[in-house]
């Protein structure tokens, strides 16, 4: 179960809040330590005694006296977040993480606040940062961070990265409706949040998501049933045949090919369907079939590393190294962390009699595979 934002940290009754403090720059009052220490103790006591209105007021007063009070910034941020005062919480958390940049929970709460204020590119950056810094033993928060990061990545059209996070979620044993919606949107490559799903296609998205979950949990028959139902009910919707076809290529490749071709009929500019088909043909050692599809993908998506990679692979399969190597080099430029591109180049340079370049690719692969690397 994904933890809704309002119960991530604390739960208490609704209380009125005061206005956000004005930004403090050069004109803040010099700290009166006696007053400040007294205030901070009273603020903590009010918070511990569930007198949240008093706590918020006291933390604000304390921060006016001492704007660099990290504990106060954090406590007030969490209180405001809980009270759904997301933009106020966000502004305080930005001050907090600039002072304590190693605080994973700080970045997490900032990203989740920004999700509520609909700043999705910042959400993605900040939640990824929180994940890399770690959240300690807060498993419920980690689940929420993964969920918010995944749906924000989908909204930002980074579907594959979103699905990587959702694989983790499903592997951890969760596939409730919220996860199914998120997975369905990412798998169908629709840049929408679950709250933005059009009512006439909610069922399509849930079928896609439940099929995704079943496939990930190894329940192949159930997955195929869900995907087939989706394709039968929504045969003309973009993304449907791509998803079903991608699933089938691992089960019955010829059926998968048929579905992927159908996707290109439904959505004539679908790049991933072309790349997937080309990939299958290359695995079946049919480079003549793969080449035109990969070439089209490059024309449709010239800034995608994967387009140049598959086109380069198809050219290499045709032994046209003179054209394959520049394509693979373009793929490397656009996706320097993609190990498969370096493997392709290693093979292509070796075949072209360029051992120095091949060795460099080998070293890069070793570096990328080293524990702690981004790959």
């Amino acid at each position: 179960m994904i933890v809704p934002p309002a119960v991530i940290i604390l739960t208490f009754a609704a209380l009125p809040l005061q206005a956000t403090p004005k930004p403090q720059l050069a004109c803040s009052t010099p700290p009166n330590l006696g007053t400040f220490e007294q205030l901070s103790r009273e603020a903590d006591r009010a918070r511990d005694e569930n007198r949240y209105q008093d706590a918020i007021r006291l933390y604000r007063q304390g921060l006016e006296i001492k704007p660099t009070w990290d504990e106060g910034l954090w406590s007030l941020s969490t209180l405001l977040y809980e009270k759904e005062q997301y933009s106020d919480a966000r502004d305080l958390l930005r001050r907090f993480v600039s002072r304590v940049p190693q605080a994973g929970p700080g970045w997490a709460l900032l990203g989740m606040s920004e999700f509520q204020t609909r700043e999705y590119s910042r959400v993605v950056d900040h939640l990824q940062r929180s994940r890399s810094l770690g959240l300690g033993d807060r498993k419920d928060m980690a689940q929420s961070v993964a969920y918010f990061a995944a749906v924000s990545l989908t909204r930002m059209e980074q579907y594959d990265n979103s699905m990587d996070l959702l694989y983790e979620t499903v592997n951890a044993g969760r596939c409730d409706t919220a996860v199914q919606e998120a997975a369905g949107l990412a798998a169908l490559r629709m840049p929408l949040l679950p709250a933005e799903i059009p009512p006439d296609r909610r069922e399509m998205i849930l079928l896609a998501g439940s099929g995704f979950c079943a496939a990930q949990m190894g329940q192949q028959e159930d997955a195929e049933k869900q995907f087939r139902k989706m394709a039968e009910m929504y045969p003309n919707e973009p993304g449907v045949h791509f998803l079903f076809g991608t699933f089938l290529t691992n089960v019955r490749p010829e059926d998968g090919i048929r579905e992927l071709k159908r996707e290109i009929e439904v959505s004539p500019f679908h790049v991933p369907a072309r790349l997937r088909l080309a990939d299958i043909y290359l695995k079946q050692q049919q480079p003549d079939q793969a080449l035109p599809l990969a070439e089209e993908a490059v024309k449709l998506a010239p800034n995608e590393a994967s387009s140049h990679m598959v086109y380069g692979e198809a050219l290499a399969a045709k032994r046209d190294l003179a054209r394959a190597i520049p394509e693979l080099e373009k793929a490397r430029e656009q996706g320097p962390d993609v190990v498969r591109v370096h493997f392709d180049l290693l093979r292509a340079y070796s075949a072209a009699g360029r051992p120095g370049d091949a060795n460099r690719e080998k070293e890069t692969i070793e570096n990328l595979r080293r524990p702690g690397s981004e790959q």
């Binding site: 930004p23 700290p31 990290d70 954090w74 002072r99 605080a103 700080g106 204020t117 590119s121 933005e196």
Partner: protein
């Protein structure tokens, strides 16, 4: 019970808080501030610059550095305060107005943000390429919010040519294309798919390669799901018009009027198409309705003036074009038609004055020219506007 994360408590206990006020002369503090910034010790630099401007409030470089540091950390309320002080001390500095406008956008002071971004543009778009892209993008968002959709789309189309797309640009183009006076942060979630599909169609129409097939595919999907939503057919019509498919465009504008009978931009476009086909009676009807529904819309009066000019109702034409000129004094094509009306009326001196104004405005090549002028820029310089 409030739960503060244990990990955080550890981090906080280990964090050396720099709460002390920096000591020393102004010169010493300024030097230490610059050194801290150069060494990426941002919190120290902020503390030192803050101390520096407290000692010497006229230190404009200090306010600039402080604003920049806060801006880089997304601390917009504090950055806004610093940039305000900076521009008060150094009003001729161009890039600061862009930063100030961007901060005001983030703090939701949208009127001031628009005002400062316009000040920045009037200074010639000073700043780095990144700043220009971000500032132009936000300026366009604010124009959309104000209902100035054509100007917004003009700016976004320029960005599309440079950036070649991206989710934020697509969303912004979708809002402006569907004439939704909203920001990306504040429109209803149920309209998201519609905005996305319209944005993709607008993007592919605007790209220098003008991938009209791909634009048409997104427009097809938009119409399939949102056929009865206001502005959808109008948007489709503008794209078709841009592709010079005037018969199909006309059909879309007429469908828009079925859905939104008081849709002034659709009426203006239909009047324009009627006029190009010498169908002056219907053109007059559409243009009159448009000017009646929106008496403060310069394009409606402009179109009515043009129709009246064609039907030789010269005094009425001049009156409508004068109204249009009053409402939009910077639009060159209004001046051109007004000059023609004055010339036909034998008011040669006034005609000469409007011709001169037309040349000045046309030659200014303003960024915020309306689409007729934008298209006009693609024609030969001697060719008159539509």
């Amino acid at each position: 019970m409030v739960v503060v994360f244990p990990l955080l408590a550890l981090l906080l206990s280990a964090h050396p808080t720099s709460s002390g006020i920096p000591q020393g002369s102004f010169e010493q503090i300024a030097k230490r501030a610059d050194a801290a910034r150069a060494a990426d010790r941002m919190e120290d630099a902020i503390g030192l610059y803050t101390a520096g401007v407290r000692l010497r409030p006229s230190w404009s470089d200090g306010w600039w550095s402080l604003g920049s540091l806060f801006y880089d950390q997304d601390r917009f309320p504090e950055a806004e305060a610093a940039f305000k002080r900076f521009v008060a001390l150094a009003p001729k500095s161009g890039p600061a107005y862009a930063f100030l406008g961007l901060c005001e956008y983030e703090t939701k002071d949208y009127e001031r943000a628009l005002q400062h971004l316009q000040t920045w543009s009037a200074k010639g778009f000073p700043g780095t390429t990144d700043l220009i892209d971000v500032a132009v993008f936000h300026w366009a968002l604010l124009l959309t919010r104000k209902g100035r959709f054509v100007e917004s789309l003009y700016l976004l189309a320029v960005e599309a040519g440079k950036l070649r797309g991206g989710p934020a640009l697509v969303e912004a183009m979708g809002l402006a294309s569907l004439r939704m006076p909203n920001l990306p942060e504040d429109y209803p979630p149920e309209r998201r798919e519609m905005v996305w599909l319209a944005g993709e169609a607008a993007l592919y129409s605007a790209l220098p390669s003008n991938d009209s097939d791909r634009a048409a595919e997104y427009a097809r999907r938009l119409l399939f799901h949102y056929d009865h939503e206001p502005n959808v057919h109008y948007f489709r019509g503008t794209v078709l018009n841009f592709e010079r498919k005037s018969a199909e465009a006309e059909e879309e504008f007429r469908q828009e009027l079925q859905i939104s009978p008081r849709h002034v931009p659709a009426m203006v476009e239909l009047a324009r198409l009627n006029l190009s086909h010498d169908q002056t009676a219907e053109a007059l009807s559409f243009a009159k309705s448009a000017a009646e529904i929106e008496p403060k819309n310069p394009e409606a009066h402009h179109m009515l003036g043009r129709v009246l000019l064609t039907t030789k109702q010269l005094p009425e034409s001049a009156r409508e074009l004068e109204t249009a000129k009053q409402l939009a004094p910077d639009v060159a094509s209004i001046r051109y038609h007004l000059a023609r009306a004055y010339a036909a009326l034998g008011r040669a001196k006034e005609a000469d004055r409007e011709v001169a104004a037309y040349h000045v405005l046309r030659d200014k090549q303003q960024v915020l020219a309306p689409p007729q002028e934008k298209l006009g820029a693609l024609r030969k310089p001697t060719e008159p506007p539509e």
